[in-house]
Subunit: 490 residues, 2 copies
Amino acid sequence: MADSKNLPGPLQNIFQLIDQNKTKYISTLGEAVAIRSVSAWPDARDEVVRMVTWTGSKLRELGCKVELQEIGNQTFEDGTVLALPPVIFATLGSDCAKKTLLIYGHLDVQPAKKEDGWDTDPFVLTEVRGQLFGRGSTDDKAPVLGWLHAIECYQALKQDLPVNLKFVLEAMEESGSEGLDDLLRAHEDKFLKGVDLVCISDNYWLGKNKPCLTYGLRGLCYFFLEVEGGIKDLHSGVFGGSVHEPMADLIWLLDQLTGQDGKILVPGIMNDVPEKTPDEQKLYDAIEFSLEDFRSDIGVSQIRFPQSKSKTLMHRWRYPALSIHGIQGAFSDPGAKTVIPRKVIGKFSIRLVPNQTPDQVEKVVQAYIKEKWESRQSPNTMKLKLESGGKPWSANPNHPNYRAASKATEYVYNEVPFMTREGGSIPVTLTLQETTKKNVLLLPMGASDDGAHSQNEKIDIRNYIEGTKVMAAYLYEVGQITESLEEAKE
Amino acid sequence: MADSKNLPGPLQNIFQLIDQNKTKYISTLGEAVAIRSVSAWPDARDEVVRMVTWTGSKLRELGCKVELQEIGNQTFEDGTVLALPPVIFATLGSDCAKKTLLIYGHLDVQPAKKEDGWDTDPFVLTEVRGQLFGRGSTDDKAPVLGWLHAIECYQALKQDLPVNLKFVLEAMEESGSEGLDDLLRAHEDKFLKGVDLVCISDNYWLGKNKPCLTYGLRGLCYFFLEVEGGIKDLHSGVFGGSVHEPMADLIWLLDQLTGQDGKILVPGIMNDVPEKTPDEQKLYDAIEFSLEDFRSDIGVSQIRFPQSKSKTLMHRWRYPALSIHGIQGAFSDPGAKTVIPRKVIGKFSIRLVPNQTPDQVEKVVQAYIKEKWESRQSPNTMKLKLESGGKPWSANPNHPNYRAASKATEYVYNEVPFMTREGGSIPVTLTLQETTKKNVLLLPMGASDDGAHSQNEKIDIRNYIEGTKVMAAYLYEVGQITESLEEAKE
């Protein structure tokens, strides 16, 4: 795909080698996907740790100095206490003449079970028509491996690595990055000292074919809303009609959260969200984005704003949104069970946008739920807990970091990437911005239809291989940055 | 416990032998509980079948003629097709001078997982202070074994069995008794021909200490309410705000079903429920029932009608009730997952009372949900399916069948049993009444706090052993019935 006329010499050989290594790279991704590193499953904690040590070995083979940082314990809802998987800190090179780039990635994955509706075993990487299906394929194992492949190519071709590298690779990202924030803040003047710029490859293109760089993310408040009745589940035949059922209370509370139009009903929730400006409207109008592709990829009959590209994008990027994810403790298997569950925990989350903060959002949600609950007059007990909170984030898309990534992308895809924001949350983005005080770039490898967190998650072989080239080229372009990189002022 | 002064001679020896066999009976129940015969779990189907063949062997050892009736296939929600477990038809004796008693029981159990909150392994029968904990202990394995023990005692003591016996033992009761109804109706003039009375031991005392006989049951309509959006689960960060989420629609629909006071909001649902009469009120007022024991056993801070014994009983027995059991397809594990589930199925059921019918209830529920759904104006698709329906049932509590059971109970417990109704549903009760056209008796073995369908299901050793004596004495008393047993006219 690369246009060799403009391609700097060192990258020509590297791109060629990446193409030659395609089969090997797919096989390595297969090894990684086979490790069931689901951070949400207590039973899979050994596998999560195995994924960390497996990656640590690969980094050592590349000559990195690798430290496994222990970050304490995790206490699950049921009281189970498990050690958190360690975080990898790795360093490669310390040449004062070079910039130091910090790369973040994560090694854990979302839960996945065949019976959730996967067409293939989620932990067996399966190639179908140019796409690689498997849990973690795109989120975030291929991007992490992409960096390793890029470094390996420089080394195989005996080309000097254009940058000093530091890696932060965690394995709790899909479970709120528990423990990471404290670790990074404790290392602000230690491991993170001397970093000049930051790159995170853990998001997706806006569409399926056009490369993007991303300069904004929504934050997240994830809530556990618990309603508890008696001391045991009850048979609905024997007790139905004579008790206040926790499920009815929970369903009612959850239904108070959003209106028919999807609007969040919590008073004060929009207080910190600025009105959109005419300039902003123009920015959104300029983005190429097919509502029909968007609709048909997710397979719904109609999206929320079927007539408006800018409304659709704004409601994904610059407005908060509330989703109800599920209920723990109720009957969730196929078939029928005539149970009155004794304790049920509704899981819902709100995506945050500038200038919302988790503290403020938690405050208004707590007040609203408390008021509603009191009006319900139920003898059951209700608890609302903020399970995790992350602020929204945005960066300066005109920074040299973004220019380097833009050039790298052009070498590979022959297109200027779109500058996008994203609706998802990667809380570490903000932490890395705050602790390094440097520009943070999001460099997506996968495409919009990869289905991170869904059944049949995949990455296109094109994105894996070309994305690896973008990474290699980005390292080269960061090496070309001549200006000194001041503190981020976003 | 038995007062030997009034006890007929043949029963004295039998009761003594039952007491002597206590340890053996507990061990046999342990074997039965260890068989994980969960009919709702497709993966456990082999275990369900094993429970059937295990019981078949025991019946053959007692000299029964045993037939395993194959009843076709079951198709699960996900398309899995499995053979239904066979139904046991067993016959013992064909003496024209004796009455023929049909006994029904079931061999399958509710789902149970240690992590649901059991204190012990649900499939290892565990004795703690006179109680036997384990899934199926009280529902319905101890009662089924009770009959077998009673027969064995007659035989060990070389006493002629006072009745001819037929058994119908199924293994799909906890999953809507799929296939049983058709089988029984096909055998109305075959296996069921010649039956004089029917006894089912698959329910519970009203309290913990007072024996009961039961002459009424509520029916059941179990609904699957499905809302489907796109073709895959979505990441709430990427898509939240831009799509109509099926969970929000489902939660809203489920919340339309009942009011804050537990009242069912479906118009027309009460049309077929008669007003209570002054006589009926007196009947309920006469029953001994401690609201405080009821409340503290289930561990809630307050029951629905904290001041009224008769309202509490009536809302368990003679008024319909609606319970929401759970949601399939949403996130239900511990921890956090930021998913927008693509298809979610709400499970709810309505307990039916005379003179409601499943057809009529389905009709009004379908109409109500359809109307509500149209007002929601969601582009998602909604389907409401009646998963299973069973009519309510009541019998004549003055029938000789009830008098025999009452006498048998008095021999063992020295108390006249309460005549109760129950809130639960055992659809086969009505089918057996309709196909045999004879009186059906419910003879509970376990107590109100046994926790059928709950965590920590148990049966008291007292109830298991004394209940076995009641069964033996009931066989004796049925043998004493001299009048001819006309068709049931309930």
